[in-house]
Subunit: 302 residues, 2 copies
C-alpha cells in the first residue's frame, strides 16, 4: 500500500507498517494519515485519485470534509481510545494547578517575589469540594476517577444519564444543566464540540456559577464565549479558569495573558510522548485492519 | 484561660475559645498557640512563667525547644491530621505539573512564545508510570491513593513495611532504598525530617535514578543536597524536579530560579484556606481537651 502523511509523526509509532510504501505522494497514495489539526478539504481529497482510507490521528475528525469522502466511498477512521487518559490527566492537572496556584506561585518564586509564611501563599483545596463534569463520556469518567481519589464530590451533566453502576462507581450524581453550573466549585468541560453547544458557557451561564468557582476547559475553545469569560474573570464573577483550548485558536485573547487567575496551556490535552506513540499505534491498527478487510477491528467514523 | 499567639491566625478558626482571654501577653499566658514556622526557644519559654501548654499549629514541632518544656512540665501538642490531605494534594499537584509541563507552558503562552501543533509542546504522562514514595505514612498513603487513580504503579520505601491490607489497597510494592531510587519514574519524598535523613538524596542517590526521572519534595528541604540536585538538573542526571521546600529556606538557590525543568512552590504544602481553618480547629480541640483534663483527646507531643 502507498501511504501519505500530512504531518511528521514519530517513526517508531509506524514500525508495523514496514513493507508498505510510506511517505507516498498525494497523487499516488491509497491511504492518507492525517492529524486532527491538519485540514483535509474537498480540494485535497480530489487531488488524491487513488485514496481509499483516511486514517486520522486524533479523536476529533472535523478537520476532514466527510461529505467529499462519502461521495467517493473513502473510509475514515480515528483514534478515540489513546486520547482518553492523557486528556483526563491534563484536565485534572489544570484543575489542581489553578486550585493550588502552582503556576502562579512558580512565577512568583522565579521572580524572587514569593515570601514564606504560615498565612502567606494560601490556595484552595480540591479535597472536599464539588467537581461538576459536563460531558461524562470516557474522558469525563477518567477525570471522575481522579477527582474521586482526590476527595471530591462529583456531579455531572450529560445528554443521557449514565447507568446506576457507573454512577455508583464514581459516587457521581446526575444534575440538570442549571445545577451543574450553580453547585460546582470546579466546572470541567469534557463534551465534544458540535454547533449546538457553541458558547455553551456564556455570560448568563458564568453568572450562575459560584463566585468562588473555577472553570476548566480541555474540550474545545468554542464551547466558551471567551470574551464573556474574560469579563467574568476580571470582575470576579468567577474565581478563575484553566484553559487548554481557545475560541480563536491558535490565537489567544491578549487579555487572558496577563490575568493572575488563569492557567493557560497550548492545546496539549493529548500531547504526551506516550500518548502520541499510542495514537500512532492506533492509526496502524486501523490501517492494517483496513488492508485485511477487518472492518470490525477499525475505529470507523465513515 | 489566658491564651497568647505567636502569629496572626484566622479568627474564625478559634470561635470555640470564646470566653477565654485570647491574645494575652506572654508574661500572663497559660497557653501559647505557636506556628510551625515560629521559633519558640528556651528564652521565650522562660519569659512565660505561667505557661502550661504550647498548642502548636502544624504537624512538625521542631520550632519548639522541647527540652525546656520538659524541664518545666509544659505540655506540647500538634495538629497532625489536617495536614495530611493538603500536603498529599500538593505533592500530586507538583508531580503532575512537572510531568505535563503545566507551569512551563503557562510561562510560554503568557510570553507569546507557545506554538500550537500536534508534535509541539509534548510532555510525559503519569498514566502507566511508576511512582516511588519514600515515607509511606499517612501523607504518603494519601498520595498513593491519588497516584493509583492516575493509573500509576506504586512502589515505596519506609522504615517499616506496611501491613498486607494497606499494600493491597494501593497495589503498592515495598522495595529497598536502592530500588526505589532505580525504579521510579517519579520519586516523592514524604518522610519527616530527622538528622539521620539529612541529605538522604545527594549526588550518589541522584546518580542511581533514571535519567528520565523526576524528584518531588514536599517534606523538608534538608532531605536533599540542593547543590547536588542543581548539578544533576543541569547535566541531565535526572529529568526534573518539583520542590515545595528548600535546604536553606526561605532562601532558594538562585541557580534553581532559571532552570526550565523545575517547578518551585513557596512551602505551601499545608497552605490552603480550608486546611488552615482545619488546623485552627485542631488547635482548639487540643486546648479544650487540655482545659478539661482529657489528655486522651489531645495530640500530645510532650
Amino acid at each position: 500500500m502507498k501511504i501519505a502523511f500530512t504531518t511528521d509523526l514519530p517513526q517508531e509509532g509506524f514500525k508495523r507498517l514496514a513493507g508498505h510504501e510510506l511517505y507516498a505522494s498525494l497523487d499516488e497514495a491509497e491511504i492518507l494519515v492525517s492529524t486532527f489539526d491538519y485540514p483535509v478539504p474537498r480540494k485535497m481529497i480530489e487531488s488524491m485519485p487513488h485514496l481509499r482510507l483516511i486514517a486520522n490521528f486524533g479523536a476529533g475528525f472535523n478537520n476532514i470534509d466527510l461529505e467529499a469522502c462519502r461521495e467517493r466511498g473513502i473510509r475514515v477512521t480515528n483514534t478515540p481510545q489513546p486520547v482518553i487518559e492523557p486528556t483526563a490527566e491534563l484536565a485534572f492537572a489544570l484543575m489542581i494547578d489553578i486550585a493550588r496556584r502552582v503556576s502562579e506561585f512558580d512565577r512568583l518564586v522565579r521572580a524572587g517575589k514569593a515570601q514564606f509564611g504560615v498565612m502567606r501563599n494560601l490556595s484552595h483545596s480540591l479535597y472536599g469540594k464539588t467537581i461538576g463534569i459536563i460531558g461524562m463520556g470516557r474522558i469525563g469518567q477518567a477525570l471522575a476517577r481522579r477527582a474521586q481519589a482526590a476527595g471530591m464530590h462529583i456531579i455531572y451533566h450529560n445528554r443521557h444519564r449514565l447507568p446506576d453502576e457507573i454512577e455508583q462507581k464514581y459516587e457521581a450524581n446526575y444534575v440538570d444543566f442549571q445545577h451543574v453550573l450553580q453547585d460546582s466549585d470546579y466546572l470541567s468541560l469534557n463534551l465534544p464540540y458540535t454547533p449546538e453547544v457553541h458558547h455553551l458557557i456564556g455570560k448568563p451561564e458564568l453568572g450562575m456559577m459560584k463566585r468562588t468557582a473555577y472553570l476548566i476547559n480541555t474540550a474545545r475553545g468554542a464551547h466558551v464565549d471567551e470574551g464573556a469569560l474574560i469579563e467574568a474573570l476580571k470582575s470576579g464573577i468567577i474565581a478563575g479558569a484553566a484553559l487548554d483550548v481557545y475560541e480563536h485558536e491558535p490565537a489567544i485573547s491578549t487579555d487572558l495573558l496577563t490575568l493572575p487567575n488563569v492557567v493557560l496551556s497550548p492545546h496539549t490535552g493529548t500531547g504526551t510522548w506516550e500518548g502520541r506513540i499510542a495514537m500512532c499505534e492506533n492509526v496502524c491498527d486501523n490501517i492494517l485492519a483496513f488492508i485485511e478487510g477487518q472492518t470490525n477491528k477499525m475505529n470507523i467514523v465513515l
